[in-house]
Structures are given as structure tokens and as C-alpha cells.
Symmetry: C2
Subunit: 78 residues, 2 copies
């Protein structure tokens, strides 16, 4: 949970961390998953925070694969 | 060069890469530098592109240290 649909064309979620390093570690885990899936979100990294945006560039909107990627990103956390 | 001053309160630069992995590698180099310097930019990572924003949170604007960090980020590239 925690994903918001923005303008009916992307989904976004904010993850909080205790410091920059943990946020960077999460960014790398998401990056590794993205490479494996062949589907790349936008990742906004700042101190203690990572905001992930997912959408399908080819259609300029949301596809089933976006929700699958979102679910897999959520699995990284736990 | 290539840094733009935005609203007189932050500096921003866009770096382009050949794929996601190279952009992620650069993100990690910037992250490592940020930890060393104790000064953390915002890093926006997407496929083949990294946008870096630097400012000093404490003063809500630009300080000499921001330009020093920017220069050190530029040194990573070469």
C-alpha cells in the first residue's frame, strides 16, 4: 500500500529512512530490481527519503506491469 | 560548468548516461562523496539521466559549500 495514482498516469510512493546511507541502499535495491525486470522507475533520493515514480513510458500512462513493479518494490522493504 | 541557479536558492545540473546502470553508478559515486563531505544533494535518477540539486537546508539557500560540493561532483565525471 501507500502508492498514490497521480493524474491517472503514474503511481508514486515515498519511503522514509533513518539517514542518507539507508536511502541510498534502498535506491540500489530498487535499481537492481529495475534492471532485472527491464522496467525502470524514476527514483528521487534525498536525505532519509526516496520517492519512487512508476509508469510506462511507451504508453505515457499506467500498465499492469507498473503495478507488478510497485508490488516488487514493496517486497524489498520487508 | 553546466550548473544552473534556480530561484536564487539552489543549483542544479543534469548529467546524461548511456543507460540506467551508468546513471545508478554515478548516483552511488555522488552518494559516497556526499557522505564524505557531510553535505547531501537531492539526486533524481531516471533511465540514462541524473539530475543533482544542491543547496544548504539550514539557510534555505546557497552557501559557499554548495559550490564546493558541485565542483567535486563535476570531478567525479572525468
Amino acid at each position: 500500500g501507500g502508492w498514490k495514482v497521480i493524474d491517472n498516469k503514474k503511481i508514486e510512493k515515498t519511503y522514509k529512512f533513518k539517514d542518507f546511507k539507508e536511502a541510498l541502499d534502498f535506491t540500489n535495491k530498487v535499481g537492481k530490481l529495475a534492471e532485472k525486470e527491464g522496467h525502470h522507475p524514476n527514483i528521487h533520493l534525498s536525505w532519509g527519503k526516496v520517492v519512487i515514480e512508476v509508469w510506462t513510458h511507451k504508453i505515457g500512462g499506467l500498465h499492469k506491469n507498473d503495478f507488478i513493479l510497485a508490488a516488487k518494490i514493496d517486497e524489498i522493504e520487508s
